[in-house]
Amino acid sequence: MNEMTRKQVEEALPDYLFGALNDSEKIDFEQSIVQYPDLVQELNEAKALFDRIEKTDFENAVSSKTRNMSVKVNKKLSAKPQRKRFNLITRFVLPAAAIVLIMFYTLFDANDSSDSTIEMNNQSLTSNYDLDEIAVILAESESDDVDDVTMNTSFNQINFPDVYSDIIEEMYYEEMYNYIDQITHYVGSNFSYNNDLYSNFETFEEEEFQEILKELENVGKFN
């Protein structure tokens, strides 16, 4: 007989209770457990409970709950491929495609729109003007020595469509008004300067006045 320690008896207790020990192990256990009365009591308590419980009762109870499992599994198995593909598409492919589309649109939208705008402007320009006329304007506008007369002559040579005539006329008059304003301002400022000069005469001393006269005479001589 191999005498078992308390730990060994504890570890063998469940297997003894449920009949899982072989004959020699069973003998060793029975002869060793008597040294531990508390373990004997625990064994008896457990035996009292599990005597009431039959494993077959549990198996029957579980079986009653899983009796339609084959039908359910077969039903799901037959529907599984379509469902799986659908899940794959809806869960991964569609969102991924949407993200790629949004990224593509976001990245290339600015370039596309600017290109399309330029292209639209070019089409509008070439449809309204003759290419030769546009080339002349561009060449003249880039050269520094071109004068306003030449520019205006070239500009007037272009046959603008009627739809632009009002705009051009308005721009022309606006430019003219600006020139008039500048001239008026210049004349006005000179006039005010002269007024200041005349008003300053009253404060001149005699010597200063004489010096100015001499200067004027010198200028007259020089001329």
Binding site: E10, E42, E45, L49, R52, M69, S70, V73, L77
Partner: protein
């Protein structure tokens, strides 16, 4: 799925001959041979009959679909146990997330306590089963699983050790503690 391959994995050698036309029959036999093991395992983790039923279906479908990838290093039961436990943990994770975002039902409404009342009405002859399951779910996971796999499913200590990652000595200690606690907690039934 090859019926010959399926036949190799079904325990109890209850399969019909490996013919192409018998695939459904063989699948049924595979399900019938393992459904109780998977269901009771799922029930211990989810503590809910409906959830355990859903998980059992998914586990068996997954197992039938992946029998080709099953290697013979472990038994079908240990393979199914791993699938079941993983699926239960994922299920609980999803459920906890859903219950976090919705207040329609509290967690306690899903557990076996509330089910127990209705189950008693429906299955009065299974009162002991309900009570025992309830006490079993109250045990620490290692003790509970060691007891269930050893007592209900007759797995060897070596197989349980591979499944739970616990030494054989540790498993025996857990087994003893589980039996001791169950006996103490169910004194009124003796």
């Amino acid at each position: 799925m090859s019926t010959a391959l399926l036949a190799n994995h079904i325990e109890n050698d209850t399969l019909a001959s490996a013919e192409e036309g018998n695939e459904v029959l063989n699948a049924n036999q595979f399900v019938n041979a393992n459904k109780n093991f998977v269901f009771s395992t799922a029930l211990r983790f989810t503590k809910d009959y409906d959830d355990a039923d859903d998980i059992t279906q998914e586990v068996l479908i997954k197992a039938l679909s992946n029998l080709g990838s099953f290697n013979h290093q472990s038994s079908v039961k240990t393979w199914l146990y791993r699938i079941t436990v993983n699926m239960c943990l994922n299920f609980k994770r999803k459920k906890s997330m859903l219950s976090f975002f919705s207040n329609f039902k509290s967690e306690s409404e899903y557990d076996i306590d509330s089910k127990e009342a209705s189950a008693q009405n429906k299955m009065e002859n299974n009162e002991l089963f309900e009570r025992f399951n309830h006490e079993l779910t109250k045990l620490p996971e290692k003790q509970r699983e060691t007891f269930a796999l050893r007592y209900f499913h007759d797995l060897s200590y070596q197989e349980i050790s591979e499944l739970l990652g616990t030494s054989v000595g540790g498993l025996k200690a857990n087994y003893f503690q589980a039996v001791k606690k169950l006996a103490q907690n169910m004194k009124d039934l003796r």
